[in-house]
Structures are given as structure tokens and as C-alpha cells.
């Protein structure tokens, strides 16, 4: 094997300069390296100046954030990689490297010599469990069910808010079955010596095939019925009274004793694979039953993304539990040991007190592991697999108002399953790429190398889209949200923190000029007319969305496209504000400019006037032209200066601005800022308003809340409008009352495209 490869420093072992806290997990064939590093990148900040002509000052500042890097490569490259790390390591004060895995012992001397770090060994199982807890807690679509013949082979699961208890069945050379009850409490309740090593060792003896991957390859082509004794071989058919069908295996390898003929390698490998998978599945089920556990995750090198073994294990679990338990697999299963070892070494930093997020720009995603692919190719393409996790500034928790957090799925459409929709959206994002690149460059007019970076961004994001076309499951379920978030991650990666900052500023400035006029005209209306106008205003404001191609086309070409024009596209909604006032309304806002200032604020004003407290939740970081918490602070102060109602609201703490914890144009109600959750609980929030396509349509359209809710958006995408049976610029106005609660008015207005 070629060990003298050249490592491209931009792509692999990134950010080594500030790396610290190394951990390494050396398995039988793959090494997983983990380190913590800080990443310096630009962030957009806004600052208000009272005397300035401009509304506020925008600056791009350097900020340092924490990132975890995980790299997986073949053991053959270990020396090259260690050399590379030594050569690029600069500022590290690190003295030790945490190590786990069977190979840690073997390479101890090499690591210590090359890196000058002391190898500190950690218990393998403890690392595995720590890592497992970490990914389950921080990566929403970590676990999946495998279905070989389904439209989408991978069905990602919503992680239950409480990840415990669960069973982890680790199939390495042997099998360990571990019951995990909490972060620190786990127990190896059993195991089996018949595992991956048995498949490999016995398989090598039977077929004279040396490599594990090649054995799996053989197995995927074999027919086990020539080797195994089936129920029908004994009964001539099924064993009806026991419900055992004829094609069940009665005795593995049962035919190889009686037949004089030889057997094909493929058939023997297949029989062996079935024998071992069934046996492990059976034991796992017996342990799950004994300990009354229904969540069973499988991992270890026997599984590691191999469709062949995932299928046979799934089949076995399904058979032995009669479908009651589903076999679950993990996207980052191969990294668990390294993650756990890293966490052990980083305990003093308390990594578990933060929330972390997978960085789509820096992570390879789940590889295609089609069994048709040549195993050599597979190993090659998987030579350097990466996972990067960003430490989020805010700790994220569930919205306390979710009716059933364990069944909440943010996304309305799963593009992994819907091929037509997938095709549409991938093309849509591809077509929009030019515009995004242009916008990114325009946002940094004084920086000449912005063009070069923008091209790198284009390449990266286009590559991601191409990958997702081939492997829609690469980052969990493919959704409009994940496509948008991936784009934001890629923009950040190339230091375009806020391409829309200038546009937002201009539009905010302009909208503020109309605020007083708008409020005045509203006040002249009768109560009933005003209610209509207010809702119409919110909807009309929401048309101003640079994220939607149909709108940005109009906005780019027609500077006269005004608020009154947009209003005509809207409709008459239900009367939300009849009856007794709500205690507190939580409003997830969307765009800057007209939307927030002329649409949302007058509505907020009305709520305040009715005696309803208002919590305005906006993004923590920029995404498209969505208003950020920083911007909204300034805008609200400006409005307060013009409007005594808003001013009183702020003064009396009846109008509160909180950040959502998100930097996405969409909204995941299961990952929100902890402070937001606290405020919502304290204020006894009884109305939730979610505004905009990203938050109320692409996500949360089907979300069920335990209080009254209103989801409203203007459909600014003709394909989507058509899908929903409406036209472009139709309106979604979905008012819902949880079952058992009296509504403000009897008839709710579900999706009513005009």
C-alpha cells in the first residue's frame, strides 16, 4: 500500500495551528484522530450610533470559536499522518494524547516518539459509550433504521429528548452488549464470542479470502440455501404449527456435512454471515427483553456502514422481536471511541455543558457504501473521512411548548424519501448559486480576495450538492432546511458571515421611515378593520424575502416593488385577536426591513395594547436577510423612540427580545436557546406565532404545540405553491388550538391558499 501520500493541509487535519487535547482511537484497520481547535473567522456585528447618518454600523470582526475535528484514516497512513501533525503543530501546550482501541498499545511507542506526547490509555468501552451519548445528544439525525429495499435505505430517527436508557451492541471481533442508563452509568450486561472476528476468521478459513471487505463482498453475492439446512429441507415445507416458514434456517451449514460436492465461496460466506448476524440479533433481543429496553443501537467494525451486515442484523432483530424492536444504527458510529477518548481528556473544559453542532461544510457525511462498489475503491475513497463539530455559543434545548417532543419532526418534507421534491430543490439550489456568490462578493466590496473566496465557496457548495444528489442521506434526512444550513456553513467557512448585511441595513432604514405613518393609518381604522389590516401587514411584509428566488428576482429588477404592491397579494385571515387577551405571545420573526418593522411591529404593538406580553425570538446569527437578534435590538430601540407603546413595553419588561440560538433560515423547535425556553416558561406563554416560509412551511408546518399557535407565511415559490394546491404568493395562515383547549374562535383556518 502506498504510504507516502501527500496530505493537502487545507482539507485534512485543518486548524492544527491551535490544536490541543488530542485523542486517538486505533482499531484493527482504521485510526480515528480527534482534536480540539479554535477557528478564527469573520462574524458580522452591528453597532448603533446615535449621531450617525446610518442606522447602525456594520463591521466584520474576527471571532474565535471552538471546533472539534475528527479524522478517520487507514492504519497504513498512521506514520505519514503523525509526521504531518508534528510538522504543523504550533501553539500547543498539550503534553498527553488520550488513546483507546485495540491498536493503541501497538502504536504507543510510535506516537510518543513522533509527537512527543505521552500516550494515556482509556478504557475502550467507556470511550465508546461517552462518544455514543455525545452524538446522540448533539446530532439530531444521528440514528437511523436501515431498510434495504425501501426508496430511501436510511430512515433517520428523531432523537428522543431523553436518550437514556438504551442498549449498545458493539460487534467488534467479539460482541459486547452494554446497557446505558445515564451519562456515567452503564453496564456490560452480556456479550458473545461469535462476532466480527468469527466472520472474518472462519470466513478466511472457509473461502481463503483474507480481507473483511472482500468477505462481505462474497457474501453479498452468495446463496445460503445450498449450504444451510432450511426448515423446508427437513419438513418439505413449513412447520405450520409453530409458524416457522419453509425458508427459515433450521441448521446453519447443515447441508455441508451430507453433500460430497464442494461449495462456492460466495455461498459459504453468505451462510456464515446469516449465521453470525442471526445469532447476534437473537442475543441482543434476549438481552433487550430481559432488561425491558426498546432502543438498541448496533456498532462496531462488523456494522460500520456496511449495507450487507446492517440488512442481516435488521432482518434478525425484526424476526426475533416480531417487529417490536427496530435495529438502530449510527451515522458516526466509527468515531464513537475517538470522541469518547477526547471527551475523557477534555473533562476539565466540561464539553458536555455546551451544545455542539455538526458542521456540514467540514464533514464528509455518511459515505455511499453500495455493496456493488469494489471494496478496494471503497477503502480508498474512505481514506480520509472527517467530522467537524462546532461548539455553539448557546446551550440548546426543546421548546417547552412542544406537545410531544419525542415525536416532533421539524421538517415538513423529507427529500430523502421524495425523489421528485429532492430533484426540484437540488436544482433550485444549484440555480440560485450564482446569485449567492454574487451577493457574497458584493457584501465585501473593499476586499479584493473576496472573489477568490467566493469561488471556493461556489466549488464547495456545488460539490456538496453533487454529493447529496448521489447520497441524499449523507447528513441525515435531506431537507430544505439542511440544504439552507449547508449553504450557511459553507459561506461561513469562506468568511462570508453575512452577505445580506448591507441590504438588511438599507431596508431597515427605509422601513423605519414609514413606521410612524403606518401606525397612524392603522390607528385610524375601526377595531375590526385594524385586525384585518394588521394580519395583512404581517403577510405582506413577509413577501420581502431575499431567500425566495421568485421574490429576489422581482426585488433585483424592480426597485419600485413596494409594500402596497405586496399587500395586494395577501388575503383575509381569521380573527385571531378576538376574545380575552393572551398572557404572553412568543413570536418567531423572519425577515428584516418591511417584514419586521412594518409587518410584525404593528402587530406586536396591538398585542401589547391588549395586555399580552410579547417575546420576540430572532436568529442568533445571520442567515439570508433574516433579522438577527443584534439588529432587532437596535431596530426596537429606534421604534421605541417613535412609539410610546413599544417604549412602555420595553420599559415594563412586557416586550422581550430573545435569541433563538439558531443561525438558520429555518427553525428546529427542539434545539432552541436555553434562555428562550426559560423565558417562555416564566411568562406562561400561551400563544406561539411562527412566521415565514423557512420557519412555518419548510419546517414546523406539522408541528404540534401545547398552546394556541399561528403559522403564517407567503408562499414565494411556485413549485411549492403548486404542490400545496395554490398559486405563487398564496398565503399560509394556520391557526391551531391544541385538543381539549377552548379556542379564541371556533373555526380555525388551516392552510388557505387564496
Amino acid at each position: 500500500m502506498d504510504k507516502s501520500i501527500t496530505l493537502p493541509p487545507d482539507e485534512i487535519f485543518r486548524n492544527l495551528e491551535n490544536a490541543k487535547r488530542f485523542a486517538i482511537d486505533i482499531g484493527g484497520s482504521l485510526t480515528k484522530l480527534a482534536y480540539y481547535s479554535t477557528v478564527q473567522h469573520k462574524v458580522a456585528k452591528v453597532r448603533s450610533f446615535e449621531q450617525n447618518a446610518e442606522l447602525y454600523e456594520i463591521s466584520e470582526q474576527e471571532e474565535v470559536t471552538a471546533r472539534l475535528h475528527f479524522i478517520k484514516f487507514e492504519n497504513a497512513y498512521i506514520e505519514t499522518c503523525l509526521d504531518f501533525i508534528r510538522d504543523h503543530l504550533v501553539n500547543t501546550g498539550t503534553k498527553v494524547i488520550k488513546a483507546t482501541g485495540g491498536g493503541a498499545h501497538k502504536f504507543k511507542e510510535l506516537i510518543e516518539r513522533k509527537l512527543g506526547l505521552k500516550v494515556d490509555k482509556e478504557d475502550e468501552m467507556t470511550c465508546l459509550i461517552r462518544g455514543c451519548n455525545f452524538v446522540l445528544r448533539n446530532i439530531p439525525h444521528e440514528a437511523f433504521v436501515y431498510a434495504k429495499h425501501a426508496d430511501s435505505e436510511f430512515r433517520f430517527q428523531t432523537t428522543h429528548p431523553d436518550i437514556f436508557p438504551y442498549l449498545l451492541v458493539n460487534i467488534g471481533s467479539g460482541v459486547s452488549i452494554v446497557k446505558v442508563e445515564s451519562e456515567d452509568k452503564f453496564e456490560r450486561i452480556g456479550g458473545s464470542s461469535i462476532g466480527g472476528g468469527t466472520f472474518w476468521g472462519l470466513g478466511a478459513l472457509l473461502t481463503k479470502t483474507k480481507r473483511f471487505d472482500e468477505l462481505l463482498q462474497l457474501a453479498s453475492k452468495g446463496q445460503h440455501a445450498s449450504v444451510d439446512m432450511l426448515v423446508r429441507d427437513i419438513y418439505g415445507g413449513s412447520y405450520g404449527s409453530l409458524g416457522l416458514t419453509g425458508d427459515l434456517i433450521a441448521s446453519s451449514f447443515g447441508k455441508s456435512a451430507t453433500a460430497d460436492k464442494g461449495f462456492s465461496k460466495e455461498d459459504m460466506a453468505k451462510s456464515l454471515l446469516h449465521m453470525i448476524s442471526n445469532d447476534i440479533g437473537q442475543l441482543a433481543c434476549l438481552y433487550a427483553k430481559l432488561h425491558n429496553l426498546s432502543r438498541v443501537y448496533f456498532g462496531g467494525f462488523f456494522i460500520r456502514g456496511h449495507p450487507v451486515t446492517m440488512h442481516t442484523i435488521t432482518y434478525s432483530i425484526n424476526f426475533f422481536t416480531k417487529g417490536e424492536v427496530q435495529a438502530l444504527f449510527l451515522r458516526h458510529e466509527g468515531y464513537l471511541g475517538a470522541i469518547g477518548a477526547f471527551l475523557k481528556g477534555a473533562e476539565e473544559d466540561n464539553p458536555n455543558q455546551y451544545s455542539w453542532g455538526e458542521n456540514y461544510a467540514g464533514s464528509s457525511g455518511l459515505m455511499s457504501v453500495s455493496p456493488e462498489m469494489n471494496p478496494m475503491q471503497r477503502a480508498r475513497s474512505g481514506t480520509f473521512d472527517m467530522l467537524e463539530m462546532d461548539r455553539l455559543e448557546r446551550q440548546l434545548v426543546n421548546l417547552p411548548l412542544l406537545q410531544d417532543p419525542s415525536s416532533y419532526i421539524p421538517d415538513t418534507m423529507d427529500l430523502t424519501e421524495d425523489a421528485l421534491a429532492r430533484e426540484y430543490w437540488l436544482s433550485c439550489f444549484e440555480e440560485a448559486l450564482d446569485g449567492v456568490v454574487k451577493r457574497a462578493v458584493a457584501s465585501q466590496p473593499d476586499i479584493p480576495e473576496a472573489i477568490e473566496r467566493s469561488e471556493k465557496f461556489r466549488q464547495k457548495y456545488r460539490h456538496k450538492l453533487q454529493t447529496l444528489r448521489q447520497q441524499p442521506f449523507a447528513y441525515g434526512s435531506l431537507t430544505v432546511r439542511s440544504l439552507l444550513d449547508t449553504r450557511e456553513h459553507c459561506l461561513n467557512e469562506f468568511n462570508f458571515p453575512d452577505p445580506y448585511s448591507k441590504i438588511k441595513q438599507r431596508e431597515n432604514d427605509m422601513a423605519l421611515r414609514y413606521y410612524q405613518k403606518a401606525v397612524k393609518s392603522l390607528e385610524q381604522l375601526s377595531w375590526e378593520q385594524r385586525q384585518f389590516a394588521l394580519v395583512r401587514g404581517v403577510l405582506a411584509g413577509n413577501v420581502f424575502d431575499w431567500g425566495a428566488k421568485a421574490v429576489s428576482d422581482v426585488l433585483e429588477s424592480d426597485p419600485e416593488f413596494g409594500f402596497d404592491e405586496a399587500k395586494r397579494h395577501s388575503l383575509r385571515p381569521a380573527l385571531l385577536l378576538q376574545g380575552p387577551p393572551h398572557k404572553c405571545a412568543l413570536f418567531f420573526v423572519d425577515n428584516s426591513g418591511v417584514d419586521i418593522i412594518l409587518g410584525v411591529m404593528p402587530f406586536v404593538r396591538e398585542l401589547l395594547s391588549r395586555g399580552t406580553e410579547v417575546v420576540l425570538a430572532s436568529n442568533s446569527g445571520p442567515a439570508l436577510n433574516d433579522v438577527t437578534n443584534g439588529e432587532l435590538q437596535i431596530l426596537t430601540e429606534r421604534i421605541a423612540a417613535m412609539d410610546p407603546v413599544i417604549q412602555a413595553g420595553l420599559r415594563d419588561d412586557r416586550l422581550t427580545l430573545v435569541q433563538s440560538g439558531s443561525s438558520s433560515p429555518c427553525l428546529d423547535l427542539s434545539r432552541l436557546d436555553k434562555v428562550l425556553a426559560m423565558v417562555v416558561r416564566e411568562r406562561q406563554t400561551d400563544l406561539v406565532i411562527i412566521e415565514g416560509m423557512g420557519r412555518a412551511l419548510h419546517t414546523n408546518y406539522y408541528a404540534r404545540l401545547s398552546c394556541e399557535s399561528l403559522k403564517t407565511a407567503v408562499i414565494k415559490n411556485s413549485w411549492l405553491a403548486e404542490r400545496l394546491g395554490g398559486k405563487l404568493f398564496s398565503v399560509v395562515f394556520k391557526y391551531e388550538v391544541p385538543p381539549g383547549k377552548p379556542s379564541q374562535e371556533d373555526s380555525s383556518a388551516p392552510s388557505t391558499p387564496s
Binding site: G197, K210, Q282, L290
Partner: protein, 402 residues
């Protein structure tokens, strides 16, 4: 879940587990014998169990034939009796297990010897040929048969030997056979036995065990495959689970790995091999015990795990491979059994089936595994007539239709 209860005739009438017939015939039995005579089926009395690998046949040889009977007896019947009882081997593969035969047994008011015969299932055509040439069908007997082969070969019996099979469920027969044999054997070596000090090879000895109050018990039948039954009474049981890693797997893998061709050969090889050269032990990985999880260094971490390495593949003997196969299959049956015992809350396990025939190695391993991993909670029991209970159950059905 699988359970059944069936109305039972005489066995139930006789009450509890007390045998309706037995070697020690008592006055009750004698008084009943006249009425029994009327319903007694004509000779010959056979019970048959056609499994995936072996056919098990039990034959009752009446020893109390009167002169009058002798004269009436048709020639075909005599010839069959003589053929079966004067030989201990039939053809090249049929064998009568003489050491298992039960003498002075009273069945349906007749006294005689119960013979235990086996031959490979693939030789069934030869057996049918013999039945045909001996005009078995002229005897108008009902042939009670169980096991999958009773279904698979039913038409062969009809077309090749003109015989009509009375097909019986194999698990019903198994349980009936176990309970019957255990109740009638009172002389000679105890039918049921266990291993004392199973965890100490030097002090491990076979001891008789009295299966009084047997319920509930876990019955593990290791034939080509394995069935595990939870038995709560003679008529109340369920099949808990099964595994395809059974006797057939041991023999099949041994044949592929070593080129042997019979069970005896495979066992002989296994007895001379060393599995620790083939398997990866806990100490091979951790240098000793894996204390964090209470795993002893000698425990197998990965069956055949050492065979991942080319050098080690080249250094093991066929005997080592045979031994490793035996240990792997046996231990796996042990752990599945143990889990079932825990899930069903049963502490006594009876292992039967022909995998255990002349296989003390596996029996001791099972005894060890049950005792060690349950910390002495579970007891492994074995029966002398290992693989014949299904056939016995089929014979009982002939005599006492349920």
C-alpha cells in the same frame, strides 16, 4: 408464543406423572390389562422420529409371546423382529444402541424390550426399500412418525413402501418421551444425571439426578438445529426460541474445515485439539482479565478470532479447528439457553438431542457454562437416551392415542 394443551387419555387418567405402564407393574395395571388388550394395537410397535440428519427408531420387542401367539404370528412379523433384534448394525449406517435398550418393560400389558435404532436421514430410501422387500405394509400396522421428515417423506412412505404415516408434532412427542422414559427407568444408570463441580475439571464427576417435581423446566433439544422449550406440565409448554447453530452446524463446519465426514470422526478430532489456538481469548486482548467488566482472561472474546491472522491460520491443526468449532457451538447454545432461563425464570435445564451423544466434552462445557455464568443458579441436566425421546413419544401415541 406457542402453547398447547390437549386432552389426554390414559396418561392423565393414571394421574400426575405416575406411569400407566412400567417395568414394575403393579396391581392397578394388571387389573386394567384386560381392557387394555381390546384397544391394544397389533404388533409390530414402532415409533419413529425423522430429523434433519438422523432417523431415530424405537422398536418394542415383546418377550412374553405365548405359544399360541407364536403360531398365529405371521412370518413377516417374525422376520422383522428377528432382523432387528439379532443385529446391532443395519446396512452400513444403521446402528442399534444396545447400551440404551430397556428390558422387562411393560407396555400396554405386554412385557418386552425397547430397542433404540438410528440411521442417517439420507439413507431413508434404503430403509423404505427394506420395508418394501419385507412386506411391511402387509402387517396393517400404523406407523407413528414425528420430526420434519414425517411430513417431507410422507408420500415416499406411501409410494415406495405402501405405508401410511400417522404424523405427530415433534415437540409434543419429545416432551411425552422425556417424561415417560424418566418415569420408567429405575434400574441401571439413572436416566437423568448432572455434573458435580462443573467448574473444577479435576473434581467434575457425573452424578445421578432424580427428576421429581420436574416443572418448570427448560428443555433444550440439540439436533441439527436447536429448539428451546419451557415446560410447565406434561401438556403445557411453549417453544421459547431456537437457533440454527446446532449439531448440524458443528458437523457441517468440521467437514468443511477438516475434511472429516462423520460426527464420530469430528468428535474424535475435537478431543485432541486445542481451541485456544483458534479463538481469541480475553487475555489475548487485555493481557489478563478485563476487570472493568468482570471478564476472566480465559473467556473467549472472539471465536475463531485468531484466524483473522494469516500466520495463525497456517499454524493451527485440523484438530484445533474441530475443537474450536465444538466449543463455539456449545458455548453459544449455553448462552442462549441461559438467557431464556432468565427470561422465563426457570432454574433447571435439561439438555437432550443427538448432538450430545458420546459428547462428554459438550456436556461438561454446558454444565460449566450454566453454573459459572449464573453464579451457581442454573443446573444443567442430561438424559441417557439423549436423542430418542421424540421416537418414544411417537410410540406412546400409537399405544395411547391422545
Amino acid at each position: 408464543m406457542y402453547g398447547r394443551s390437549e386432552p389426554d387419555g390414559e396418561a392423565a387418567a393414571a394421574g400426575g406423572r405416575a406411569p400407566s405402564d412400567g417395568r414394575t407393574s403393579n396391581s392397578t395395571a394388571r387389573r386394567r390389562s384386560d381392557s387394555v388388550k381390546k384397544t391394544r394395537p397389533p404388533f409390530p410397535w414402532f415409533g419413529m422420529d425423522i430429523g434433519g440428519t438422523l432417523v431415530k427408531l424405537v422398536y418394542f420387542e415383546p418377550k412374553d409371546i405365548t405359544a399360541e401367539e407364536e403360531q398365529e404370528e405371521v412370518e413377516n412379523l417374525k422376520s422383522i423382529r428377528r432382523y432387528l433384534t439379532s443385529n446391532t448394525a443395519y446396512g452400513t449406517t444403521g446402528i442399534r444402541d444396545v447400551h440404551l435398550e430397556l428390558q422387562d418393560l411393560t407396555l400396554c400389558g405386554r412385557t418386552g424390550t425397547l430397542h433404540f435404532i438410528r440411521f442417517p436421514t439420507h439413507d431413508l430410501p434404503a430403509f423404505l426399500q427394506m420395508g418394501r422387500s419385507k412386506h411391511f405394509s402387509s402387517l396393517h400396522t400404523t406407523l407413528c412418525a414425528t420430526g420434519g421428515g414425517a411430513y417431507k417423506f410422507e408420500s415416499d412412505f406411501r409410494t415406495m413402501a405402501d405405508l401410511q404415516l400417522h404424523k405427530l408434532d415433534e415437540l409434543d412427542c419429545l416432551i411425552r418421551g422425556v417424561l415417560y422414559i424418566d418415569s420408567v427407568v429405575s434400574r441401571g444408570p439413572s436416566e437423568c444425571y448432572y455434573f458435580e463441580n462443573p467448574t473444577d475439571p479435576d473434581r467434575c464427576v457425573q452424578r445421578p439426578y432424580t427428576l421429581e417435581n420436574p416443572y418448570p423446566l427448560l428443555l433444550v433439544n440439540i439436533g441439527s438445529g436447536v429448539s428451546i422449550l419451557a415446560v410447565y406440565s406434561e401438556n403445557n409448554y411453549k417453544r421459547v426460541t431456537g437457533t440454527s447453530l446446532g449439531g448440524g452446524t458443528f458437523l457441517g463446519l468440521c467437514c468443511l474445515l477438516t475434511g472429516c465426514s462423520t460426527f464420530e470422526e469430528a468428535l474424535e478430532m475435537a478431543s485432541q485439539g486445542e481451541s485456544t489456538r483458534v479463538d481469541k481469548l480475553v487475555r489475548d486482548i487485555y493481557g489478563g482479565d478485563y476487570e472493568r467488566f468482570g471478564l476472566p482472561g480465559w473467556a473467549v472474546a472472539s471465536s475463531f478470532g485468531n484466524m483473522m491472522s494469516k500466520e495463525k491460520r497456517e499454524s493451527v491443526s485440523k484438530a484445533d479447528l474441530a475443537r474450536a468449532t465444538l466449543v463455539t457451538i456449545t458455548n453459544n447454545i449455553g448462552s442462549i439457553t441461559r438467557m431464556c432461563a432468565l427470561n422465563e425464570n426457570i432454574e433447571r435445564v435439561v439438555f437432550v438431542g443427538n448432538f450430545l451423544r458420546v459428547n462428554t466434552l459438550s456436556m461438561k462445557l454446558l454444565a460449566y457454562a450454566m453454573d459459572y455464568w449464573s453464579k451457581g443458579q442454573l443446573k444443567a441436566l442430561f438424559l441417557q437416551h439423549e436423542g430418542y425421546f421424540g421416537a418414544v413419544g411417537a410410540l406412546l401415541e400409537l399405544l395411547h392415542p391422545s
